[in-house]
């Protein structure tokens, strides 16, 4: 049991990471990663939806008729997404407005459907719930790294606080930090994501070549 849990954690966070290895959830990766806080909330929302959808699907796995299993999965996933959307509108209206349609689009995130089909539908609730959480975290940490770099170079800020501008001025640059508009736009997201996947896969290949797993 413990070994299985460790395998799930390792798989979702690195070896079989949904973003870097399975190349899933790319739309939102490109769309929300120019501001760190938006990315964090998106990641938390997706983790919540994946974990609880996996739990429900796993609990119902023996009674769902096979021919309608995907309809049930979509129903469960969309219900949890609507709960996240309503909760953000009620308790975090600023972030809800900033994320706009992307919260609703969690429904179409391939990671969730993929985990329901590949894992939750065939496993007991405990491992399915853990897999949901770890898949969400596996997606989120990649996005957060990308968001950190994009926000830092694009706006010169970390979590909205100016960092590079005062730094550059203290180093004698009178114009302060010149924002990299490219990093804020979608091409900057493509560039960062591709670079991240390249680095992550190079590390994995290096480990494999040297017999480390």
């Amino acid at each position: 049991m413990a070994t299985k849990a460790i395998d799930i954690v390792k798989d979702d966070l690195w070896k079989n990471n949904p973003v870097t290895v399975q190349i899933l959830g790319i739309c939102s990766t490109l769309a929300v990663t120019n501001i760190f806080m938006n990315t964090l909330i998106m990641g938390l929302g997706l983790t919540f939806v994946t974990a609880f959808s996996a739990l429900v699907i796993s609990l119902l796995r023996n009674i769902i008729p096979p021919r309608i299993r995907m309809m049930v999965q979509v129903l469960v996933i969309s219900s949890f997404v609507v709960i996240v959307d309503i909760s953000l509108k009620a308790y975090m209206p600023d972030i809800s407005k900033a994320l706009g349609p992307y919260v609703g689009l969690i429904i179409t995130n391939c990671i969730i459907m993929g985990r329901m089909e590949a894992f939750a539908a065939n496993n007991t609730p405990g491992p399915a719930f853990l897999d949901g959480i770890m898949s969400g975290i596996g997606y989120s940490w990649v996005l957060l790294v990308i968001a950190f770099i994009r926000e830092l170079l694009g706006f010169g800020t970390i979590l909205g606080m100016p960092v590079l501008d005062p730094l550059m001025r203290s180093l004698g640059a009178s114009e302060g930090w010149v924002q990299w508009a490219f990093m804020i736009m979608a091409p900057g997201g493509f560039f960062m994501l591709a670079s991240f996947i390249w680095i992550a896969n190079s590390i994995s290949a290096h480990k494999l070549a040297h017999g480390k797993h």
Binding site: N34, I35, N38, L60, I63, I64, P65, R67, I68, M71, V72, L75, V76, S79, V82, I83, I86, S87, K89, A90, Y91, P93, D94, K97, A98, G100, P101, G154, F155, A181, I184, M185
Partner: protein
């Protein structure tokens, strides 16, 4: 046959369970969401009216600050709105309707505008909503013009889905500051020059009034959308206000 029936029954039951749960979540948070929406809208109205929270000087705000960053509390928002703003419904007469051709206003019999008063009760200006199109979706704003209809008191965006960091910067205080004191007298004439965007504005319109505002680098489509929205809707609302000025003067004469 029995299997198919059970499948349909299962799907129906599970759908009912989940929809009922969502209905409960929606119902239990509906009033809170409605209150949030109302506060957001009122914050924008107050910002456009140049009414700030106590102790806040707009010129000292961080340029990237947005309306929701202002240190308001809900009670103060509601109190100030009740004290300084009155909603009036203006009739759209056939004469006025002729000047509103091409706008949604021409399809209605009346339109609502907000009247802004100063602390002594004198009319300072009139506010109304604007609608337009940005790069990615609809733009919504609330604009307030001076009582003589020649200057803009302020403008705030109530709806936008522009690119974060580029077009979405229209919500930042530095951009909106250029709408304060903006000359809009050209919009009274069909051939008059409306509001224009320029690449570099040295002085604000409060310091040196012009009909231009500062554009955002890298957000040309959004800036064009803002200018088109302001010029089109302001022309209509200014025509509406001019056509109803006698009604407004009569209604608020006692207040002055």
């Amino acid at each position: 046959m029995k299997k198919a029936f059970l499948t349909v029954l299962f799907m129906t039951l599970i759908t009912v369970v989940f929809i009922a749960s969502l209905a409960w979540v929606n119902e239990s948070s509906r009033s809170r969401i409605a209150q949030n929406d109302k506060i957001f809208r009122l914050q924008s109205v107050l910002y456009a009216c140049n009414l700030m929270p106590e102790g806040v000087d707009e010129t000292l705000l961080s340029p990237a600050m947005t309306t929701s960053d202002l240190p308001w509390n809900n009670e103060a928002i509601l109190h100030l709105t009740r004290q300084r703003i009155v909603s009036v419904t203006l009739p759209i007469t056939p004469v006025v309707r002729d000047k509103l051709k091409g706008s949604m206003l021409s399809l209605t019999d009346s339109a609502e505008v907000q009247v802004l008063f100063d602390e002594a009760g004198a009319v300072l200006g009139y506010g109304f909503p604007l609608r337009g199109k940005g790069l990615w979706g609809a733009l919504g704003a609330f604009a307030v013009v001076s009582a003589d209809l020649n200057t803009m008191i302020g403008l705030d965006f109530t709806e936008q889905s522009e690119t974060p960091g580029l077009g979405a910067r229209i919500t930042e205080s530095w951009f909106k500051y250029f709408f304060r004191g903006l000359k809009i007298d050209g919009l009274h004439r069909p051939d008059g020059e409306g509001v224009v965007m320029v690449n570099r504005k040295i002085q604000s319109n409060l310091e040196s009034p012009t009909n231009s505002v500062q554009a955002i680098t890298g957000a040309t489509q959004t800036c064009n959308g803002v200018v088109n929205m302001v010029n089109a809707d302001l022309r209509f609302y200014l025509a509406l206000l001019r056509g109803n000025m006698s009604i407004l003067n009569d209604q608020f004469k006692g207040v002055n």
